[in-house]
Amino acid sequence: MKQALLFLWDQYISMILRINLALGLLILGVNYLFPQVAIFGSYLTIYPLFPIIFLLIYGYSFTTLYRDLALSFQCRRTDLFWGSQAAFLATGLGCALLTAVMGFLAAHLLDLTAIMGKEGPLFQGGILWAKPEAIPVLLIAALTLQPMGAALGCLYEKHKIITTVILVVLMLLGVASTMLCLFIADGTLPISPSVILWTCVGFVALGLVGELTYYRSNKNAVVR
């Protein structure tokens, strides 16, 4: 188990967090130095989406790449499964935290209205999470997207085309729902708490289906 955890930390968790941190700092940095360049401004507006949505892809690469690597070095499947639960939790929370920290920094270091012009208030809300209603949805998305991705990675082996389609649709849904979160967050869309609740329930349900699929596939996983 120790080896599985060390492997996950070294090659999965820390790598993902490092990439997201670097990306966040880069986007903050260019906007700080060149506030007048419009394209940098739009990177900033969509930044909060990146760390969360990428979790789906990381989960996917976990079962299509990292699992093979670990098993080919004689890692036990059970260790890898339970270890990966810890890894999903750590990366999910880590990415959510990064988004929050970057939003906090952006609000304090940058002149957001100048950078984003008219759209400012809209996305400002996303970055700062001004409205607390969006937080549960984002958190739950962060925690459930990886198992969903992992399950898709398992599915890919048997149904390549279907999986690719699902993956694309989910990515779009992910983008859409996170956008939705942003709108909700800054008050543009006054959506009732029950919609937020059902969105959360939907994420949790999909996440559980993902877990189950991943668990079952993992029991007899084979190095390809």
Binding site: T64, L69, C75, R76, V222
Partner: protein
Amino acid sequence: MNENILKAKGLCKSYGSNEVLKDLDLEIQPGKIYGLIGRNGAGKTTLLGILTGQNTKNAGEVTYGGEQVWENQKALSQICFSRELQPTLFTGQNALKVKNYLKMGKLFYPGWDQEYADKLMAEFKVDPKKKIHQLSKGQMSMVTILIALASRAPLTILDEPAAGLDVVARERFYQLLLEDYMETGRTFIVSTHIIEEAASVFEQVIILDEGKIIENRPTEELIAQFHGISGREDVVDEVTRGMEVLSTQMLGKHKLVTVRADANKLTAAQNADVDITPLSLQKVFVALCGHEDTQQ
């Protein structure tokens, strides 16, 4: 008991309707270099995957030192199966770096020898920062070999390690393998289809054919059983009567047969007007496994 013996019993494995392994038995004794040979698609990699717990089986069992290998940490950590690296994985290019693999070795093999790994890295001139798909075929083989050797695992398995190497590098590989073996006395299984030049390195040869192990015995003992006998047709027929004839070739009135027979059965032939020649391991392999190609 059963200290460090790898045992497979009644292994069956199918991919869909394709039966790859059929009720296969195999025993690997510690402290020997085994050569695993078989035709392409004979199921060598599948077999090795099952022996190391990396692949699943439909039936049968695999034990190491008397304990199940499947999901057993104690057994798994004693075994290293260094696979051929794939430049493309099924989802795209293999973007993992050489150092990712080296770190894995260090993490998962209790006996990992970092000093030795560094030495080999320097000798092979492989850049650890390179991605797998950026390596040449030879360099990929070198990484595989490096991991296998530096793992110092009591049972180390190499799958086609020589495939991507040029002649010079292959010579060096056999040297390194023998050096390591003489130093540690650990068990090696090396699968290869470059039979001839590897024959002298193997103490024992395992031949996999049509889903079964058809031979598992000392290399020289196996080779010594096979002979080519050639001469006039009637004389050849006369001396080979009662022998196991594996292949026959006619050239005019001249007949060339491959037989399997103990040396003492050959005395009659030795006094007759025929030529008796020993066979190389490669020829023995062709005689045993070339069945579908030699129909005349």
